[in-house]
């Protein structure tokens, strides 16, 4: 099963922008998020980029802690939850917690706790030297397991500005190239720009259209997917009356306890005292 997030193109260490961080290739272990009918077809976890701790260090640990470390290490940059560790090791919860505290303590520090954006209720453990995969952290738009709203808003603003600069309608490629040119400090990938543009189209902030090759699309090849500013939002006929947005509409009936004659929203709307 391929990773949910497509990995960005490799970047030079000196070009790493402050808004993104170099990502390790995620292991191809099937994840809980995948709705794959045949997990057996998913490739196993890829070998982590750092080697396992040498025996000289591991032998100093008690056997249970050694077993726990090796198990967590096998999870690579996707880590492992306490529940998964307990299931596999069949340790008692108290015992496991004690060992994990020891392994993550400042004295040993071979494991670390990571916040997962998908499993916030549980702690995730991984080798302290490994960076968590984007699937754990949420990728570019997530920081410490939380959505980085500012980063998302900034990306949306840049896309909007580029569309205006490019004559009001542009393809994702042109927008991506424009942002790279105008804001070199950012290092969005083309896929990230496409994701943002699709979200803006869902919000109706932008409109996704196909070029016809004529008129406003004269600079674009016919058939290409483009984006332009969305028009003024339409609709809202139902919202002009209290019943449209009433949270109790299912309980309302002509002669019931909740009825138009007794309705507080009507009273407020018509400024009437019943």
């Amino acid at each position: 099963m391929p990773p949910r997030k497509r990995p960005p193109p490799p970047v030079k260490a000196s070009d790493t922008p402050p808004e993104t961080k170099p990502k390790l290739a995620p292991p191809s272990r099937p994840t809980a998020a995948a709705a794959s009918p045949s997990p057996a077809s998913s490739p196993g976890p890829r070998p982590p980029p750092v080697p396992i701790l040498p025996d000289s260090i591991l032998n100093a640990f008690p056997p249970p802690e050694r077993e726990i470390y090796k198990l967590v290490f096998s999870g690579g940059d996707r880590g492992m939850t306490q529940t998964e560790i307990r299931t596999r090791t069949r340790m008692q919860p108290n015992t496991l917690s004690r060992h994990l505290r020891s392994l993550t303590s400042a004295t040993k520090g071979v494991l670390k706790v990571v916040n997962s954006v998908h499993k916030r209720a549980e702690k995730m453990y991984m080798d302290a030297r490994i960076d968590p995969s984007p699937e754990i952290t949420g990728g570019t738009w997530y920081r410490d397991g939380q959505l980085d709203s500012d980063a998302v808003a900034a990306a949306r603003r840049r896309c909007r500005d580029q569309i205006d600069r490019l004559g009001g309608v542009a393809t994702a490629d042109a927008i991506f190239a424009g942002i790279g040119r105008d804001c070199p400090s950012t290092a969005y990938s083309i896929e990230q720009i496409r994701d943002i543009l699709r979200t803006m189209a869902l919000d109706m902030e932008l409109e996704e259209v196909r070029s016809t090759g004529v008129g406003e699309f004269s600079d674009l090849r016919a058939g290409r997917v483009c984006y332009r500013r969305g028009g003024a939002p339409q609709g809202g006929m139902m919202e002009g009356i209290p019943c449209g947005v009433c949270p109790r509409v299912d309980e309302c009936s002509p002669d019931g306890v909740i009825s138009p004659k007794t309705c507080v929203y009507y009273k407020k709307w018509l400024q009437m005292d019943f």
């Binding site: 339409q234 009356i241 947005v245």
Partner: protein
């Protein structure tokens, strides 16, 4: 089948117009479908006379259609009565229909008003009514003038001959209507029994919109003695065999006429679509858009508008800046506006209104979701509607780039109010069983929305009646109450546009 609040709304309209007894009969037919007289009597425990009179009122006002249907085995038939929900709802739009005529054929407005008030009339009765309504001191219009104004309504299809009073229809046989109306031929989905009965009762277009013939005065005088025996005599209609004078007499005295609601609804549909798209038009395209609608000819169906290029050019030229527009420019703009050259006539452009109607329906629902549940709900709902297939929670989070907690909370709210549904998927892996949820839009959300529209209309009507009762009781706040009543009536008129939109016009 009409939804619960749709039935309550229809019953409320009939009750306001004709009283509680007639509304009871109407409600029974709406809830149970077509029924014979005895069955209605049995269900409502009313006398046959009461039910019969109520049915006569409903038939007179085009709210019920009678038809003959086989009863048991053998040749026996029974008359069944079918309520026409659409025509009942049209009763609250009469003022809109009159405004259509006022704009198009103002001299015929009084005639249409007579038909709307009385349901169906012969031309003779219309003339009598028109003459009786003339204020004292005003000039009484001649019969010829009234006929001329009436024929204008018939020619424009605003008025039609009433359908067959009691056609034969066997629900067990898939009868095709013999009408030449194109709508019956182009329907691809299976019609409900109601629609089939209506189609069976319908006359052909040629018959439906056959004008009242004009006869010369000299010719009619010479044969007065012969034709005096015609009054009260029943004859079968056969335009080819009866001479013109007899034909005219029949058309004036015996044929019942009524308003053609289809035409009025289509006029309102055109206006709605034209106005709806205006805010989205680019600068300079408004004159072309307006000219396209103004130049439309008699429509081929109820889903599209066709206009000849010459008519469009003529009207564009009359608008500000129109004389500077070239044919190429106008043609290109029309195509950008989805007005494409007609395959039947390359010199005409055709616009499919159903796309605008469908887009407007989606906008209304999405707008309400946004207002009620917030912007995140709007985004998520649009995603699920667009995709149309079940989507896993994490995929929704990834695609919308929203915070996970917000997505969870929003999905729960939409689930609770039946906009979406969920399914739990279990996935066994090496570490144990995992479960995740997939979400999709509920396929009944449109029906639910429409039912809420009916409910809102019902509530508005109830409030109007309530304030009317308060005014009758007398109150020192009379002016305030009248203002509130006007607000409600205006809101109901606007809300009715939503009802028409979601009934597909």
């Amino acid at each position: 089948m009409v939804s619960q609040h749709g039935i309550l709304l229809a019953v409320s309209i009939i009750s306001d117009h004709f009283g509680p007894l007639v509304s009871k009969v109407c409600g029974c037919l709406l809830r149970h479908g077509a029924l014979p007289l005895q069955e209605i009597v049995r269900r409502l425990e009313l006398s046959p006379g009461q039910v019969k009179n109520s049915l006569l009122v409903l038939i007179q006002h085009n709210c019920v259609q009678a038809f003959n249907s086989p009863r048991g085995s053998g040749d026996k038939t029974a008359t069944h009565y079918l309520a026409n929900f659409d025509n009942i709802l049209h009763r609250q739009r009469f003022s809109k229909f009159l405004s259509v005529i006022r704009a198009d054929i103002p001299e015929s407005e009084a005639l249409l008003e007579g038909l709307l008030q009385n349901g169906r009339l012969t031309f003779d009765q219309l003339v009598e009514r028109t003459i009786s309504k003339v204020p004292e001191g005003s000039i009484t219009p001649s019969r010829e003038e009234i006929r001329m104004n009436f024929n204008k309504l018939v020619f424009a299809h605003y008025v039609e001959r009433c359908p067959k009073p009691e056609p034969f229809f066997d629900p067990l046989v898939d009868e095709q209507s013999t009408s030449t109306r194109k709508r019956a031929k182009t329907v691809e989905i299976a019609l409900s029994i109601d629609k089939k009965v209506v189609n069976t009762a319908s006359l052909s277009d040629a018959e439906r919109f056959s004008e009242i013939p004009y006869i010369m005065e000299d010719a009619s005088n010479a044969n007065d003695s012969t034709h005096s025996s015609i009054a009260g005599t029943k004859r079968k209609h056969n335009a080819l065999e009866v001479d013109a004078e007899l034909n005219s007499t029949i058309a004036e005295n015996e044929v019942l006429w009524r308003a053609n609601f289809e035409k009025f609804i289509f006029c309102l549909k055109k206006k709605f679509c034209a106005d709806r798209k205006k805010p989205k038009l680019k600068v300079g395209t408004h004159p072309i858009w307006e000219a396209f609608f103004e130049a439309s000819l008699i429509e081929r169906d109820n889903n599209s508008v066709t206009s000849p290029i010459n008519g469009i050019l003529e009207r564009v030229g009359q608008k500000e800046g129109g004389t500077l527009m070239t044919l190429d420019h106008i043609t290109r703009v029309l195509e950008e506006l989805n007005c494409n050259p007609s395959s039947e006539d390359p010199d005409s452009f055709i616009l499919d209104l159903s796309r605008i109607v469908e887009a407007s329906q989606n906008e209304e629902i999405e707008s309400l979701v946004k207002k009620k549940y917030g912007h995140a709900a709007f985004t998520i709902f649009r995603l699920l509607v667009r995709d149309g297939c079940p989507m896993e929670t994490d995929k929704i989070i990834d695609t919308t780039i929203l915070d996970k907690q917000i997505v969870y909370g929003t999905l729960y709210k939409l689930l609770k109010d039946d906009y979406i549904e969920t399914e739990r998927i279990l996935s066994g892996t090496g570490t144990g069983n995992l479960q995740f949820f997939v979400w999709r839009v509920k396929n009944t959300f449109r029906e639910q929305f429409i039912d809420n529209l009916y409910h809102a209309a019902l509530n508005l009507r109830q409030m109007v009646n309530y304030i009317a009762d308060l005014l009758l009781e007398g109150s020192k706040d009379d002016t305030k109450l009248r203002n509130r009543k006007n607000i409600l009536i205006l809101a109901l008129t606007r809300h009715d546009d939503s009802l028409m939109l979601f009934n597909g016009f």
